[in-house]
Each structure stands twice: as C-alpha cells, then as structure tokens.
C-alpha cells in the first residue's frame, strides 16, 4: 500500500459536496437562472452542524443511529472505491459484494429510522425506497460481475486497473452496456430525475427526501454528506469505466478522473434538465430494463461470445 491509495478517499471527502453544486449550477444554467453558489452544499453542511437536534418522544435509538450508520457505511464504501488508476486503501478479492452490502446497510438503517418515527408518510417513502433499490441492486451486481469477468479481476481496484483502451477496443460492447446500466443505477440510487426529484418535496412522488424529513441539525448534515459521498462513489465507478486512460503518474491520473467526475456532474445536470420524471409506476420498468441490459452484457461476455 502506498501513499497514492489514500488520495481517492481524501478527494472524495473534500470534493463530494462540490458535485452537487456543479449539478445545480448546470440545472440553473438550463433554466436561465443564476443559481446557488458552487459551494452551497458546504455552507448548508456547516450551518446544519452548528445547530442542535430535536428528537421526538416516540423515537428510539434506531432513529438516532440511522444517520450515523448511514454515514459510516458510506465512508467505508468510499474506502473501497478506486479512482483514476489509484488503488483504494482497502481492497481485496470480491470487495464489490461488500460495496453492495454497505449500500444495503446504509439503506436499511435509513429505512428503519424512517419507520421508527411512526409517521405513515415516512413509511410510504421507506416502502418505495426498498422496492426500487431491490430492483437496482441486481442491476449493479450483474453489471459489476460482467465487468469483472471481462477484466478477469473480482476486486474494484483490480477492475479499475485492468480497464484500458485495449479492453474497450475488443469488448467495448459489454463495457458500454455496463456503463449504461451503472448510469441508471447511479440515477436511481441517488434519487435523481427520472426516478425521483431531489428538489421537490411533493409527497406523492418523493422517495428519499420523505424518509429524512424528521431529521435535523447534525443528523441531517450527516445524511446530506452521506448522500454526497454516495453520489461521488457511484460516480467514480462510472468514471473508472468510461475513462480508460492510465498514465502511471498518480497526480495526472487523478486530475483526469476528477475532471471526469465534474463532467459527470454536468451530465447529471443536463439529464435532470432535459428529462421529465417518470411516473411512479414506470420506474420499476426502467430498473428492470437496467437489469435486462446487465443480463445482456453478462450473456455477451460469457464464453467470449464477443471476441
């Protein structure tokens, strides 16, 4: 393990909220508004951290544990995901399963905390979150399995190192399909349009926001920061897949990767500005479509059907 492997998590911890700013700026540009400052997310976090918290009498320790466990799981997940050719600090064979389970753990505690409030409103959001993520998870895992078979490595760092222009050259079809799958998972897991709108608080449609309505102060800051880290983490999977350049110089690689992340945030803003949100009943079809594409990628890869 060398020093450069600590750079990806460090970048994630410092730059993750910036992505939200970039996305919001892009959306503002499309809407013809000036938009919030790029560093708005940092200001929000700082503001929330200085506040106190209020807990309802009917909640138990589960409600308090929700944000902490969620953030902890995201921090652990950040330590697993490599960026721009740098290995992640923690990497072992099969760590992509741990990544999926950490996402699941964070989700479980968010859902439990939402249910713990006893509000039917939050229960509704919890139900939606569980339903949609149950469909997004097989897509994520099948996609990652297809790439790991393609690159012959079952750790995220290994996959990231193995992807090169050469791999894209002879099996670009599989990687392209997986990139699309990861993009759909990225949109769904981060509650983005077309699955969910992070800006509106319309009770009929929101998924993630409804579950955190009763959190305030530092707890809410933890949740927001955790969400930003999740955005960064899933984003860096996509960037690692579609930017196959490794120069061997950590500084250069990381600059390219961070530029890729910013470009992804801009792309996210463009998607959110140009697409309408899907009807609630249509979301499962989108996610099953992603599972289908991942299945196609796996089938194409299997036995080297694509030579």
């Amino acid at each position: 393990m060398n020093v450069s492997s600590f750079l990806p998590p460090l970048l994630a911890l410092t730059l993750a909220p910036l992505l939200l700013g970039v996305t919001n700026r892009t959306k503002a540009l499309f809407a013809g508004r000036a938009g919030a400052p790029l560093l708005q997310a940092y200001h929000d976090l700082w503001k929330l951290l200085r506040k106190g918290t209020v807990y309802s009498n009917v909640t138990t320790w589960v409600f308090r544990a929700g944000p902490v466990v969620g953030l902890g799981a995201m921090l652990a997940a950040i330590a697993l995901v490599p960026l721009g050719g740098c290995r992640s600090p923690i990497s072992f064979e099969g760590d992509l399963l741990l990544l999926a389970y950490l996402l699941g753990l964070a989700r479980l505690f968010t859902v439990l905390a939402a249910l713990d409030t006893g509000s039917p409103f939050e229960g509704m959001g919890a139900s939606r979150e569980v339903f949609f993520s149950a469909l997004a998870e097989p897509a994520l895992l099948l996609g990652l399995v297809a790439v790991s078979r393609e690159t012959g490595s079952i750790s995220l760092s290994g996959i990231n190192q193995a992807i090169s222009l050469h791999v894209w050259g002879h099996s670009g079809l599989v990687l392209g399909l997986v990139a699309v799958v990861l993009m759909i998972v990225f949109l769904a897991e981060n509650s983005r349009i077309p699955v969910d709108d992070p800006n509106t608080h319309l009770e009929l449609t929101m998924i993630h926001e409804v579950m955190v309505l009763d959190h305030g102060g530092p707890d809410l800051a933890f949740i927001l920061y955790g969400a930003a880290l999740k955005l960064w983490m899933l984003g860096s999977l996509i960037v690692g897949l579609v930017i196959p350049f490794h120069f061997g110089i950590p500084a250069l690689d990381l600059t390219v990767a961070v530029a890729g992340m910013i470009a992804l945030a801009v792309a996210l803003g463009v998607i959110e500005s140009t697409m309408a949100r899907l009807r609630m009943m249509r979301v499962p079809e989108l996610l099953i479509g992603a599972v289908t594409l991942a299945g196609l990628a796996l089938v194409l890869e299997h036995g080297g059907v694509v030579s």
Binding site: I288, T292, L293, G295, L296, V299, V305
Partner: protein, 214 residues
C-alpha cells in the same frame, strides 16, 4: 467491415428487448422499422469476398421493405383502424422484460449447442437469430392488439433473416427475395384484414375474435 457485425447484432437484440418493454403501439412499430434497417446494413459486412452487387441489392431491398414499407403500412393500419395506443399485453411489461432475459439466455445456450455445416461469420449470429425468433413468438402470444401480432411476425421473420444472411453466400439470391416477398404479401394481407376487421367490429382485440360466429 467485419467489426460492424457484432455491434449490429447487439443493436438488434437491444431493439428486441425495447419492443418487449414498450407499451406504445406506434413506438413498437418504429422499433421494428429500425430493426429492419439494422438487418439491411447487416447484410453488407457478412460476405467473405467483399461487397458484391447481390448483397447490396439484398441490403437495399431489405431496408426499403422492412425499414420503410412495412412500418408505413402498419402505421396506416393503426390510423385507419383507429386502434388504441397501447399494446395491451397479457403479460406485464416488466415480466416481458424478464422473459426477454430468459429467452436471451436460452438462445445463447442453443446457439452454443448447434453445429452448422457452414462456419458463421460471428458467434453472435445464431444466438441473436434464435433470440429474435423467440421474441417474435412471445410478442405474438402475449399481446392483445392484432397489429402487435403483425409486428411479432415481422420480428420472427427478422430472426429467420439473420439466420439466412449468416449464410448469404451459400444461399441463392432468389430464395432470399422469395422469403421477403412472402413476408411482404403477408403484411399486406394482414394490414387489409385488420382494416376490414376494424370496419366490421369496433375493435381489433384478438381475445374477442375467438367468439366470432356466423
């Protein structure tokens, strides 16, 4: 040119999957049209000895028939027959998609089991041919509107076409054209039939056709 084959076959597969999850009739017809265009282009890079006149003719006729004429006929049939906009599936769209994955895996397995006397140009040819045939059959049995049955028939025929194109240099030109002509007549007749059915009855729901009597 050879490197075009695999992407085109994957495009065909993706269009199959898209047709399984599309709830809109017109969108489905357009997807079938794009599949026809993809098949026409597919005829070009398959030959072992360069692009000859025969293959160009097959490609042009295929694109003209499958990519333009059939969809135009079907779209006109939907307009004149005043069909509803939905495909009205018996099997839900999400379940159709999962069935699509199942059919894909089955066809890849089948493709790996078959031994052809002639070497195919790409290992994807056979699986994708089977996949299109299966999806076509599935569309025929799982959709309620008569127009979707025609679309399913077209997809099924597209599968047979892939199979035929894979052996384009073994197969006489006339056979190819004969098949295309058959399909053309079939779609023509079906279009007219749909039109007449819709004029006699106020729907083209095939579920209700079974209760017809004189």
């Amino acid at each position: 040119m050879k490197s075009l084959i695999d992407p085109l076959l994957v495009v065909v597969a993706l269009l199959n999957l898209a047709m399984l999850v599309t709830g809109r009739l017109r969108a489905c017809i357009r997807l079938a049209a794009w599949q026809g265009v993809a098949l026409g282009v597919l005829a070009l890079p398959l030959s072992h000895d360069g692009v000859g006149f025969r293959l160009v003719a097959v490609a042009i006729i295929t694109i003209a028939l499958k990519g333009w004429l059939f969809p135009t006929l079907l779209l006109r049939a939907t307009r004149t027959a005043d069909v509803k906009h939905e495909t009205e599936p018996y099997v839900g769209l999400a379940a159709s998609a999962m069935a699509g994955v199942g059919m894909l895996m089955l066809s890849v397995w089948l493709g790996s089991r078959f031994e052809l006397p002639v070497p195919t140009t790409s290992p994807l040819v056979l699986p994708m041919a089977f996949f299109s045939v299966l999806v076509g059959l599935f569309l025929i049995i799982s959709r309620r509107t008569a127009v979707m049955q025609v679309v399913g028939y077209l997809v099924l025929e597209n599968g047979i076409f892939i199979f035929g194109v894979a052996m384009a240099h073994e197969e006489p030109f006339l056979v190819e054209m004969g098949v295309l002509l058959d399909v053309f007549v079939a779609v023509f007749v079906m279009g007219i039939a749909i039109f007449h059915i819709s004029r006699e009855f106020d729907h083209i729901d095939v579920d209700q056709l079974s209760t017809l009597r004189d």
